[in-house]
């Protein structure tokens, strides 16, 4: 029993001392903190900047007096790097990420936008960043920066601090493609909405008016324009997927390519035109696969091959 009481008494005594000594982080850990903390007075201070044209700082007076004076000053000179990450492998990158993390820590409590509604920004590519920083930064490292940037970008624009705006500006690409907004479609005085679609080598323009399901393609009816039932279905797929076949009439002009390409170009054109009439159908149309243009084209032929990939027949010799 006695030993137990003695132990607890020692612990309390140690704890009382510890609270005072741990008020500031230890010297080692403080050096690597990104946030500048109140330095204690007894810290090693950097020497004043060393100017070579300043006589006093160079000790020229002493030089005039003799070499012995300069030599006397030398031990006093000590150049300390401005950035604390000078001795890391990639000081520029370290500074950047530390700066961004500091900002994020500082403003973490600010209100943010709902998920998926942050303004789309084209950040600098990995290659562009490497050129900018002049350091061989790995892609995975740069991803860390991008993650912090993405989080900072979510801060609500109405409370976005100037400091953050400035910091983000540094990482934006010079040309922002997301600022190029397509012209909004409109329904003209005759009630027509226009949509353009492409697929393979085909280009199609579709005009959609309210009607009862009549389709005219290049001046021909659907059955005359396409012999395959599958192609006919493709043409009105956007309307079928949204259950609008008997609500609209379609005029389409398709050029170039073959039948399948034309039919699928018309699919896209019709869905674009339909989105002008009813913008709320966009998610349904995306699910039906009529919003994104299929970028595939004919693969080029390569030398040494008979077609894009076909190898010539093997011959013994």
């Amino acid at each position: 029993m006695e030993t137990r009481a003695m132990r607890s008494g020692f612990r309390q005594a140690i704890a009382a001392f510890r609270s005072q000594t741990k008020r500031y982080p230890s010297y080692q850990s403080r050096r690597f903190l990104a946030t500048p903390t109140q330095p204690p007075t007894d810290e090693i201070r950097a020497a004043p900047p060393f100017r070579f044209n300043d006589k006093q700082s160079q000790g020229e007076e002493d030089m005039e007096e003799g070499n012995s004076g300069f030599a006397k000053l030398l031990p006093k000179l000590r150049i300390v790097p401005a950035s604390p990450s000078y001795f890391t492998g990639k000081p520029g990158f370290t500074d950047d990420i530390l700066e961004l993390q500091t900002l994020l820590r500082k403003y973490i409590t600010l209100p943010v936008l709902p998920p998926g509604e942050a303004p789309r920004i084209a950040w600098k590519t990995h290659a562009q960043y490497k050129v900018q920083s002049g350091e061989p930064v790995k892609a995975a490292r740069y991803t860390k920066i991008l993650q912090v940037l993405a989080r900072l970008n979510y801060i609500h624009p109405s409370v976005m601090p100037e400091e953050v705006k400035k910091a983000l500006e540094k990482y934006k690409r010079d040309v922002q493609p997301f600022l190029n907004k397509p012209k909004p479609g409109y329904v003209d005085e005759y009630g027509r909405a226009r949509g353009v679609g492409r697929r393979k080598a085909c280009h199609a323009v579709a005009y959609l008016v309210e009607g009862e399901g009549e389709v005219m393609i290049n001046g021909k009816s659907l059955s005359q324009a396409f012999g395959r039932v599958h192609d006919r279905e493709s043409c009105i797929w956007a309307l079928k997927a949204t259950d609008r076949i008997d609500k609209y009439n379609v005029w389409a002009v398709a050029q170039g390519g073959g039948t399948t390409g034309q039919a699928e170009a018309i699919t896209l054109a019709v869905s674009k035109a339909l989105m002008v009439h009813e913008p709320a159908l966009k998610p349904a149309l995306r699910r039906a696969g009529c919003v994104t243009r299929d970028p595939r084209r004919v693969e080029r032929k390569k030398p040494g091959k008979l077609k894009a990939r076909k190898m010539p027949a093997w011959v013994k010799r």
Binding site: V215, S221, L222, I236, D243, D246
Partner: protein, 473 residues
Amino acid sequence: MSGSICLRCLARPVAAIETAAPTSRIATAAFSTSAPLAANPPKKKGPAVAVKKQQHTKSFTKARAGGKGGSGGGRPPQQGERKAMRKRIVLSNTNALEVHGLEDMTAKNIVDSQSAGKMLGLSNEVLDALRAAAAFKPTQGWSLFRRPATLVRKETLEVVRQLEEAGDKKSTVRQVIFGEKGSGKSVLQLQAMAAALLKGWVVIHIPEAQELSIGHTSYQPVKIGEETVYVQPHYIAQLLGQIAKANYTVLSHLRLSKQHNLPIPVQSNISLVRFAELGAGDADIAWPFFTALWSELTAPSAEGEGMARPPVLLTLDSLNFAMGNTTYLNAELQNIHAHDLALVRQYMDILSGAESLPNGGAVIAATTESNKPASPALDFACERNEALQAGKEVPEWDPYVKVDRRVLKVMEGAEALHLKGLSKDEARGVMEYYARSGMLRQTVNDSLVGEKWALSGGGIIGELERSSVVMRV
């Protein structure tokens, strides 16, 4: 249904296998919904089977040994077998459901506007007559349903009304049906024939003008006055047979009324059926018999037994082939114009109005859109006549292009009937029939009708059938 002939090698299956198969296995076949006992497997006699089997294996081994045939062996089809398969007309599908409440077409309901958009079946008598007249085509979808039925569309009612009027007033309807491929031109013609048969008319049908013009049947020149026309004796003999068979009930009550200059002696009061059959029996005498029969049918009606003359319906399909040059050559080695063929000329005289039918009647020709010869004059004439009827601006012939004046002249007064797609109500009527036949396994509602209607290019009935019944997923 397709069990009787092997589609791969066109051979009849060995009957021994069929008979050996236990009935219980047939009864449990998952793909057939028809009663197993309804289909009577054809029984064949032993020796014939044995011979066939032997032939089969023999030719098979031969083909393999030679290493030449890519056909995969089997007995090669016999002469005419492929064509018979191609031209085979199947009017029934035992796997399709019987549609309850399907009315038969009668002389009354075919003119009734109540039956618009309804399906009407064809009664057995009409069916036999139409079959004899070769009114059905293998490309039409008769083989998909339990029994033949047709849709009464707006145009059907109109055509039948015109026929009725022509019968009453003893006038002649001259009509050319044209329209997109699969729009139902031939079936409309068939409906007109069925209506005429129900009214007791005489129906003369040329099922395919192509047969007359592509040089597949014999021909010989005949002088008529100064002009030379070309008679196709074998075809005319066949046609006489078809006329006799298709119009048996009508013609058997009619008797010969005139004296004709015929190559063989004929009883003076012979019935017209017998008369036509006589002509059909011999190609050499077919043409004089045909002209005599024609003059009998177009003679004015008279009192007395068998002297009444009913109205006549003349129909011709694939008119495009009869509106240009044929592949037949004349003595100067030039292509003969179709209008110089005696039979075609007879039709064209009535279509152009040069000759009229004293007892009333109609001539209805239908164009074709598949594998047709270019006939710009006919296309132009159809368009022109349609514009004239509608009171629209009439198109003009390109003055730098040579025009077939004979065609334009024939088409001058003919009514052009442009057959377009079905209306949505009609499409619904026919789709409900598909569903009730068990061939369309979806609920027929507005959205399905709208979708199929749009997919078929605005209710083109052939395409409608194709997309909803034939290409069922």
